[in-house]
C-alpha cells in the first residue's frame, strides 16, 4: 500500500474521540507530497441530443481522483452524477474532454480494449442488477466465464469472494431469495471478481434500509482498505459521504460547483447546493426561538445567542469557552462531529448575566471557534 492510503488508514483507525483534547493537533489530510493521481478528468462534457434539442448533462468537469481513496460524487437527481460515473467505464461516452486512467486516455479505446478496461473496473448498482435466472454462484462467476477463465479457477475465486462479502453457503440460491443487503453483497462479489483497481458505486445503498446501508458501507470501507482499490461512489445522501469518503465533488446542473476534502466541504460549504444538501444533517435554531429573537436586549438579564462554527481547525473546548465568556453559559443545541479526525459543525450557546457586550463576547469566542455569529437576544422567560 502506498503512503497516501496508509495515511488514511491511520486517520480512520483512530477512535472517534481520541483527538478531543485541545492540545493534540488533527491529522493533516491535505497533501504535502504530490498526490498519486489514479483518475483525471479534463474538461469532460456530455451533451444529449434529444427531440427538444441538445441537453447538457456534464459541463467541462475537471477532477482528480487519487489512488486508494474513496471519492464521493454528490448532487440532486438529474445533476449528472450517473453520467459522470459512467464515463469512467465508458458506459457513457463523453462528448468532449479527456478521461485519463493512470495517464491513458480511455475515450478512444476500441471494443477489445474497452472490454479489457472494464475488467479493471468493477461496478455495483442501486438495484443490484443481478441475473434472476442465475444462482449466486453463476452471477459472481459470469464475468470470469465470459473472460474464458477455466472452471476450477472460477470456483476458487467465487468461493473466496463469497466468503469475503459474508455470503458463505449461499452459492446455489437464486437472487429472488435474498434480502436487499445480501443482493448488494453478491453485486460486490461480482464486481471484485477480476481483482479490479477501481470500484464504481452507483447509489449502492439508496435502495437499502439504514441498518443495511451501514453494513454495506462498512464492507466497502473494508474492501478499500484490504484491497487498496480506488472507490468512486455517487449518492444523493450527504450521510454516505460523511461515512466513508475522503474527498467529494458536488455536482449541480452538470457542473462541479464545489470539491475538496470531506471535512472541509462539510465544515464550510460555499455553494448553495452543498448547503442545502447538508441541511438535513444540521441543527438549526428552533422556529419559536427564531421568532422571539431581537437584535437588542430589552432587559439586562436577556439571554444572548451565539452561533459558533467549527470548520475543522479549532476543537470545541467547552471549559475554555466557559472561562472567556463568563456569566452563565448554556448549550442550546448544535451538532459537532468528527470527520477525518477533525471537529466539524456548529454550537448554539446561550450567555446570560455577562458584563460584556455582545461584540466583546463574540470576539472572545473567536479565539476558540472558527467563526462566531451573534444571533441576537431572547427575553428571559
Amino acid at each position: 500500500m502506498n503512503s497516501r492510503a496508509a495515511q488514511y488508514k491511520q486517520a480512520d483507525d483512530l477512535p472517534d474521540f481520541s483527538l478531543l483534547s485541545a492540545s493534540s493537533t488533527p491529522q493533516p489530510v491535505a497533501v504535502q507530497e504530490p498526490a498519486d493521481i489514479h483518475l483525471r478528468f479534463e474538461g469532460v462534457s456530455k451533451t444529449y441530443l434529444t427531440a427538444q434539442g441538445p441537453v447538457p448533462a456534464l459541463q467541462s468537469i475537471d477532477l482528480e481522483i487519487r489512488r486508494g481513496e474513496i471519492f464521493g460524487i454528490i448532487g440532486r437527481s438529474g445533476a449528472g452524477k450517473s453520467s459522470l460515473l459512467r464515463t469512467i467505464n465508458r458506459l457513457e461516452q463523453p462528448s468532449s474532454g479527456r478521461i485519463l486512467i493512470d495517464g491513458t486516455d480511455i475515450a478512444k479505446l476500441d471494443e477489445n480494449r474497452l472490454v479489457a478496461l472494464r475488467r479493471r473496473i468493477g461496478m455495483i448498482f442501486q438495484h443490484f442488477n443481478l441475473m434472476s435466472a442465475k444462482t449466486v454462484r453463476d452471477n459472481v462467476e459470469l464475468p470470469l466465464r465470459v473472460a474464458g477463465v477455466p472452471r476450477e479457477a472460477r470456483r476458487r475465486k467465487v468461493d473466496e469472494l463469497l466468503a469475503l462479502v459474508g455470503l458463505d453457503g449461499k452459492h446455489d440460491v437464486y437472487p429472488a431469495q435474498l434480502s436487499g443487503g445480501q443482493k448488494q453483497r453478491v453485486g460486490i462479489a461480482r464486481a471484485l471478481v477480476h481483482n479490479p483497481e477501481i470500484l464504481l458505486c452507483d447509489e449502492a445503498t439508496s435502495a437499502l434500509d439504514p441498518e443495511t446501508t451501514q453494513a454495506i458501507l462498512a464492507l466497502l470501507r473494508e474492501i478499500n482498505r484490504s484491497l487498496g482499490l480506488t472507490i468512486v461512489l455517487i449518492t444523493h445522501e450527504m450521510a454516505v459521504i460523511r461515512e466513508i469518503c475522503q474527498r467529494v465533488v458536488v455536482l449541480e446542473k452538470g457542473q462541479a460547483v464545489e470539491q475538496g476534502a470531506v471535512w472541509q466541504v462539510f465544515g464550510e460549504p460555499h455553494h448553495a447546493t452543498t448547503r442545502s444538501l447538508l441541511a438535513p444533517l444540521r441543527y438549526d435554531l428552533p422556529a419559536d426561538l427564531q421568532a422571539r429573537l431581537r437584535q437588542q436586549p430589552e432587559q439586562p438579564e436577556d439571554t444572548l445567542l451565539l452561533d459558533l462554527l467549527f470548520t475543522g481547525i479549532h476543537e470545541p473546548d467547552l471549559a475554555a469557552l466557559g472561562n472567556v465568556l463568563g456569566g452563565r453559559i448554556g448549550l442550546l443545541g448544535g451538532n459537532v462531529e468528527r470527520i477525518q479526525g477533525r471537529a466539524v459543525g456548529h454550537l448554539l450557546l446561550t450567555v446570560a448575566g455577562s458584563s460584556l457586550t455582545a461584540n466583546e463576547l463574540a470576539n472572545q469566542a473567536r479565539h476558540l471557534a472558527d467563526r462566531v455569529e451573534v444571533l441576537g437576544y431572547v427575553a428571559a422567560a
Partner: protein
C-alpha cells in the same frame, strides 16, 4: 368404431407432424429473428436501424395476411420447395412461414422486457455483445419465450386444422371431410374432443415449464 379410431389416430399423427415440424423451425428461426429485432433498434447493442426497419416490415407483412390466404398464395412456392401442393409436407411450408414471424414477435416482447440495468451490468463486467445475448438476454427472457412458444403451438394446431381443409391431412381434414361434408356428427365431436385435449395438454405443459424456469 375401430375404423374411426384408426382414422383419428392417423390424423392426430399428421397434425402432430405438421405442427411439430413447423413450430420447431419457427423456434429455431424465430429466436434469432427476435434477438435481432430487439438488439438492432435505436440504442440497442447491435444498432442497425435500417435493417431493423426492413426486417420489421417483412415480419409485419406476413403477420397481416390471414393464414387461409397466405396458404393459397404460397402454393407455387410450396410446389417449388417440396414438389407438391398437397399433403402434410406441403402444409408445413405455409405453417412455418406463418409461425416464424408470429413467434418472433412474441419472443421479441419477452426479450424487450429484460431490465436494461442487467445489460448495463453485463457491459460493465466486460461482456462482449454476443455474451450479453447468450448470458443475459436469452436466459432472462426464457420463461417468457417458453410461454410465447406455447401460444405459437396452440395457434399452429388451429392453423393446421385450416390447412386440413385444403387437403393437408390431419385432424382438420378428418373433421371437414367426415364431420362437415358427410354430416357425421360423431366424427366431428371426436375431433373436437381430440383437439381440446391436445391444446389443453400443450398449454398445461408450457405453463408448467415456464413456471419452473421463472426464478424471479
Amino acid at each position: 368404431m375401430s375404423l374411426l379410431l384408426e382414422r383419428l389416430w392417423a390424423s392426430l399423427l399428421d397434425t402432430l407432424l405438421m405442427v411439430g415440424v413447423s413450430s420447431l423451425i419457427a423456434l429455431l428461426a424465430g429466436i434469432p429473428l427476435a434477438v435481432f429485432l430487439v438488439t438492432s433498434g435505436r440504442g440497442g447493442i447491435f444498432e442497425a436501424p435500417l435493417a431493423n426497419q426492413v426486417l420489421g416490415s417483412i415480419v409485419n407483412l406476413f403477420r397481416s395476411i390471414p393464414f387461409l390466404i397466405l396458404m393459397v398464395a404460397l402454393i407455387p412456392f410450396t410446389r417449388l420447395l417440396v414438389g407438391t401442393s398437397y399433403g402434410v409436407w406441403a402444409a408445413v411450408v405455409p405453417l412455418t412461414i406463418a409461425a416464424t414471424p408470429f413467434f418472433a414477435r412474441i419472443a421479441e416482447v419477452s426479450l424487450r422486457e429484460v431490465d436494461h440495468g442487467l445489460i448495463e451490468a453485463a457491459q460493465a463486467m466486460g461482456c462482449q455483445r454476443r455474451h450479453i445475448v447468450r448470458h443475459v438476454l436469452l436466459p432472462e427472457a426464457l420463461p417468457g419465450i417458453v410461454g410465447g412458444f406455447t401460444i405459437t403451438l396452440v395457434t399452429m394446431i388451429n392453423a393446421s386444422a385450416m390447412a386440413g381443409a385444403i387437403g393437408a391431412g390431419g385432424l382438420g381434414d378428418l373433421a371437414y371431410r367426415y364431420g362437415y361434408q358427410r354430416f357425421d356428427s360423431q366424427v366431428m365431436l371426436t375431433v373436437i374432443v381430440a383437439l381440446v385435449a391436445l391444446v389443453t395438454l400443450v398449454q398445461f405443459g408450457g405453463d408448467r415449464l415456464a413456471q419452473k424456469l421463472d426464478r424471479r
